[in-house]
Symmetry: C2
Subunit: 285 residues, 2 copies
């Protein structure tokens, strides 16, 4: 993984450097996407591009590139079989630091890199994730995929300190999402409950395909927020994200979910999700 | 302003570049300070260093430097008479992107630059600031001076679009602060009201000295949050920040404060603040 895309060029990792005056660095004025790669193919690239363009639009950042071509070239040049492509866009460099935006014609800073990671053979799919819950103190536009990830990072470290895998965050006693995954439960009467799309959660690309697969398996889907207690009482719990794909949750705040093993329907959703995304062109939306 | 400090070196602006893998860029895992410079002297450097070290401590970022020496050299090398020194510290570079922190021995990324700006002769001190109010949607650790400034930047643009100077943000109908200033009012019975120090506001360096000056002028100080209505009914309103110093507010949401002109006591506080900070060694805490 040595070739990095930077503002139109493909450069060695060591040359992938940007100005300290970049607004991504000074104001977190930047958005990003993480696209998973399986068998050398980009998964759900079209939906990632759509979400990136939405994020850019919400912040009025003018940036255009052939995002798919960039990602595909990084996969090829880095000989990536399984892992991810990370893509970030900031409002660009502004040598006089100012909260106000620079002129609209200012060139954005665009970079992307590839990273190897085992996605299909993740041991967590068999053993399940253990979760703790914490208050969601992030900003209130979590629907925009910005680089303001400090709180999520702090929570990830809190999970590590507690000896568990991740944190589910809550607002008004309702679960919003994990540090970098959408959170879902399946009730004892077979209803899949997933937070509605609003400003409290990221509209997960994996979540879209997951819901499609769950419905085709006959599950009823309710898009609404659920409480920690509802989650603890659920039959199954799981998360979805581009790099974890579908991952079972077996414990929340020390309380076992179901029989304390990865849920059966969760396992089926994971399998049908993987089959679905592998079975179609990578640039399909 | 052509010499920039970067990880121990003083380099030309064009060479001040950092890796795209810096955690400041990928996770907003970074804190900063802005120190004002008047007459070639750093104002309140000791307090800025104390706050920087607190921010670093809250995030467990290990970074040590002779911050004062760096700032002083930037002032000297850039021949800066009036303006600011900006200083940023991130958790460092991590080539495998991960929410979890890198090993504690990872070198932080430290950079600093100087910027010219007219501080004493700001026309706003005579004409006063016009303010609108908006919900405070930032994260809930605003006491840590992180680079997660996107919402503040968006609000600054909203002020510009509305033809005013800034936004005061509110939580639970109480004013927290401006986009990059602490907010204060003076009631008709001569009480200076300023938000208490908690997680909702930045503990302003200028605010400390401002409160000292206000008390020495005989004003009673109440450290508590105030509502928008209370602000509108106030005799005077003003903000404090390192680069605005003390700045009168004459209008909130179209409503004139007092007689619609900069308040008399605000003017006195500004003058005594300026005299106080100019009259002592720049490294004094």
């Amino acid at each position: 993984m040595h070739i990095v895309y930077l503002n139109g060029d493909y450069v060695p990792k060591s040359a992938a450097k940007i100005s300290v005056y970049d607004r991504g660095l000074l104001f977190s004025d930047a958005v990003y996407e993480v696209i998973s790669v399986i068998g050398g193919r980009l998964i759900d690239m079209g939906r990632h591009v759509a979400r990136l363009e939405r994020s850019l639009g919400e912040l009025s950042i003018n940036a255009f590139a052939d995002w798919s071509a960039v990602a595909q070239k990084l996969v090829a040049d880095n000989d990536l079989d399984e892992g991810l492509v990370y893509l970030q866009v900031s409002r660009g460099v502004m040598e006089e630091r100012d909260y106000r935006w620079p002129a609209p014609e200012t060139a954005p800073t665009i970079f992307a890199f590839a990273q190897e990671r085992s996605l299909l053979e993740n041991p967590m799919a068999t053993r399940g994730m253990r979760i703790i819950t914490r208050s969601d103190l992030r900003w209130q536009r979590c629907d925009i995929k910005t680089t303001q990830l400090l709180y999520a990072s702090l929570m990830k470290m809190e999970a590590e300190a507690a000896g568990v895998d991740d944190v589910w965050m809550t607002r008004d006693d309702l679960v919003t999402e994990g540090t970098s995954q959408n959170a879902h439960i399946i009730s004892h009467d077979g209803i899949l409950i997933s937070h509605q799309l609003d400003r409290r959660i990221l509209p997960g690309v994996t979540r879209i395909e997951m819901l499609t697969q769950a419905k085709s398996m006959g599950l009823t889907v309710e898009e609404r927020a659920f409480s920690i207690d509802e989650a603890k009482d659920a039959a199954e719990a799981f998360v979805s994200s581009s790099t974890l794909l579908i991952m079972p949750v077996i414990e929340i705040d020390g309380h076992k979910i179901g029989d304390g093993h990865p849920g059966e329907r969760t396992g089926k959703i994971r399998q049908s999700y993987i089959s679905a995304v592998q079975g179609r062109p990578s640039t399909e939306t």
